[in-house]
Amino acid sequence: MASGQERILRRRIRSIDATKKITRAMELIAASRIVRAQARVRAARPYSDKVTAVIANLASAGGEADHPLLREPAEVTKVAYVAIAADRGLCGGYNNNVLRATERAIAADAAEGRDYELVLSGRKALGYFRFRNYRIAAGFEGYSDQPSYADAQQVAMAATELFENGCQRVMLAYTQFHSMGNQSVAIVPFMPLDSGEFDDDDDAESSLGGPEGGYEFEPEPAVILERLLPRYAEARLYSALLESSASEHAARQRAMKAATDNAEELKTNLTRIMNRARQDAITTEIMEIVGGAEALAQTGGAVDLLSDTIEARTVDLFRARE
């Protein structure tokens, strides 16, 4: 025989409990996906390392072509941003951090008189910039959980197109994954490619460090470089997508853990309040019955009948507690 307040509290606790189960499930799913995403980041590394090494070898062997992707612009009037966020929310500040950083960078460019273009990856990125009425050159979504190389190629193609048509620089805004507990937003130059990266032979894998005799090429070094540089851009974008995806899962895992902990705490507090309310109700009711009985006893008569009633009522009340 729960009182009104008690019933309301009980309903709230049940609802919180249900929410807690959901957030706990999401936490566990995210945790398992981080591991997979990390494995994918690792699996992608050999390719980009080797592409970098081959480009370094080509460059040191005199294949240094005057490729647009390697040319530093004399003047920058328009910057393209590739912003990588998630398709889904419920991952703490993950989406907002990278999108705000992008917006700030655009504002900083605008202050210096540079125009912008946007290539967006992830539904949340599209929503964010569309709501704020930004001009969006291209948007891609639907793969942030598990980006494939084909997804990276799409985005890279859109970025390259902008780079070839009026943008002198392309920046890449994404979330770097350092470890389970440490991710950070980074906005790094994407195009033109940093030719300094290919000069440093220490970066190249030892097995790929240039041989003494120099290379034979088939076809011309310049032609190979022409084909290789877009691959390098794709590989870099792919690794940015993968790191972002790993970061997304890590952020979601943390957010859902916090939500689960909060639900647990709320539940404990509400249960305490509910028990107190029920105890109060029981005490009040007993007092009423005892008071009534005493009033009757003074008038004499039906005392036996009354004491039976009191007993039955008390049993009822204690049953209600269960």
Binding site: R40, A43, A44, P46, Y47, S48, K50, V51, A53, V54, N57, L58, A61, S148, Y149, A152, S207, L208, G209, G210, P211, G213, G214, Y215, E216, F217, E218, P219, P221, V223, I224, R227, L228, R231, E234, A235, Y238
Partner: protein, 127 residues
Amino acid sequence: MQVELVSPEAVLFSGECSQVVTRTVDGDIAFLDHHAAFIGALDIGQTQLWASDGIVTLALNRGFVEVSNNVVTILSDAAYAADEIDVAAAQADLEAAQAAVAADADDDEAKTALAWAETRIAVATAD
């Protein structure tokens, strides 16, 4: 010599081989032990690796090959062994590409698709 076949998503093969045959844009080329340092751009075609446990034949959709210090590194966008190829899908691609080429003989994309489909079928039905 050591051979590594690497795609953007994973390392597909890594091991000792006695010989590697692949196709650059200028034609087929074979590498034996201690080949001179070499960098080449690969065309669509078959690549064969003489591994310790038999010859591995792969369909390669472009990429690059780098040889130095007795290590052959093949970087490929897509590489499939015979048992990974979906012959029915390749056949469908082949027919679509043939139709596209028939419709427009200058359609480079269709020609590429045609070559890729033919290569996959050739590898899948080799032995």
